[in-house]
């Protein structure tokens, strides 16, 4: 009898100790993701990283976001370090610019050409008129401009009046630059680059207000599952799910930077020809190899509308999912490739 009890107790002790050790073993091998949330470029930026020194990587990425914000955003009240403000406010042209600025603006112009102006980096006067450059300020006062004001701003807009030759830029016709449609994507790309430079095995992602760049695959080999938000539903409702291990996905929606006046909603994606918010699209989601392209193409897709977007984006390197104002969904030929774990 005593022997049986001995054995039983021994087994109980051994199993408790064993499970404890086993649990410790499991925890040590588990890949841990550290995340941090910050505010930059007028939106919430979340960086999630698994690396040898995740905090260092995250902080470096967030610092880069702030550097890019200072350099490339236009907000006359706040920002005197902005290269874009300097270019816009110059009395004479051409203006000499640095390599990074030339790169971003040249890419903007190339994509403006390719999207037939649906994306346009020279809508500064229009955006300022509507106030979408100040929409994240605490003292922002929403207002609807008059038709006359809009027409005038449209006349003073257009990428065709911008030219870059080497390190010199010329603006004609009184147009002004606003790189809001490309700068978040560029910051994400730079962040991903910095993360990988600091730790070649780093994995994780950067989520800047719903614009996503993948640093590395989940757990080093798996896909990140990214939900595409339902424009009509709750904040956690989704209409589609895509699986990415690299690259970027960006969504433009009519529910993001918007204000309402007299029951009508005004959002920040303007039709460059009419100067008014685009009404025919509810949301436009684009997957591309880098976030800069995905950012531009998702804006272009929104302005073009699903029909044209579905045939114009693939030659430019984007695969997309578009929801029209009537709820109809259009996708590009290669979109389905991403909706399954392959």
């Amino acid at each position: 009898m005593t022997l049986k009890r001995n054995t039983w107790l021994l087994i109980l002790m051994a199993s408790i100790v064993f499970s404890f050790l086993f649990f410790l073993l499991l925890t040590n091998n588990r890949v841990e993701y550290i995340g941090k949330v910050d505010i930059a470029l007028g939106t919430r930026v979340k960086v999630v990283v698994s690396a040898d020194h995740p905090e260092r990587v995250i902080n470096a990425i967030l610092r880069e976001f702030h550097r890019i914000e200072d350099k490339f955003t236009v907000n006359e009240k706040k920002n005197d370090k902005s290269v874009i403000s300097r270019i816009n406010q110059s009395d004479t042209y051409p203006v000499v610019i640095d390599e990074e600025t030339a790169f971003v603006i040249e890419r903007s112009l190339g994509l403006a050409q390719g999207t037939n102006g649906a994306f346009d980096p020279a809508l500064g006067n229009l955006i300022k008129l509507w106030g979408f450059d100040r929409i994240s300020d605490a003292d922002f006062e929403p207002d609807v401009p008059t038709q006359e004001e809009i027409d005038r701003a449209v006349r003073l807009s257009g990428y065709e009046h911008v030219s870059v030759e080497g390190n010199k830029i010329t603006l004609e016709n009184g147009v002004a630059l606003d790189l809001g449609g490309i700068v978040k994507g560029y910051a994400i790309d730079r962040g991903v680059e910095i993360g990988r430079e600091m730790d070649t095995d780093a994995t994780g992602y950067i989520d800047a207000g719903g614009d996503i760049g993948i640093i590395g695959p989940k757990f080093g080999g798996d896909f990140w599952s990214v939900a595409v938000r339902d424009p009509e539903g709750e904040p956690d409702d989704y209409v589609e799910k895509v699986f990415l291990e690299k690259g970027a996905v960006v969504t433009s929606g009519d529910y993001e930077r918007t204000f309402e006046i007299d029951g009508k909603r005004y959002h920040h994606i303007l039709n460059p020809k009419t100067g008014r918010p685009v009404r025919k699209t509810k949301s436009s989601t684009v997957i591309a190899p880098n976030a800069m392209d995905a950012d531009v193409l998702s804006t272009a897709g929104f302005v073009l509308g699903g029909e044209f977007a579905s045939i114009m984006l693939p030659p430019l390197g984007g695969q997309g999912y578009f929801i029209g104002e009537d709820g109809k969904v259009k996708t590009t030929a290669g979109w389905h490739f991403f909706t399954e774990r392959r």
């Binding site: 993701y33 990214v226 939900a227």
Partner: protein, 130 residues
Amino acid sequence: MTRLRLFRVKDLLLYIAIACVTIGVLLTLNRTGSDMIIVKINKTTVYRFSLLEEATKTIESDNGKLMDVVIKDEDAYIKNSTCPLHLCEEGSIAQTGALVCVPNRVIITYDTDQMDYDNEDRRGYDLMTK
């Protein structure tokens, strides 16, 4: 054969105590801190609340009241914010993972820097593009 002296009552109590401590350690290690939230204003952590106590907390800075945070059903959301567009009042922290008011520079997150990577099991996806 040597008899192991494991069967006396004193020893039994000791073994139970070890078991309890082990279980207690396991439970503590397992905590991700996801029932506490912290509120940062301009990058400084100013408030810390438990999601287990239902309440409406007021968030204030030197400039006065910024917003209310409503805690209910182990979840939290923003109400009555002083920002112009109230975009921060959409959704709860369980739905979106973090609450952010850009004009007021307020960030509300769970009190942990560890991200759940089993999100996909919980709500169907790791992250959301919007």
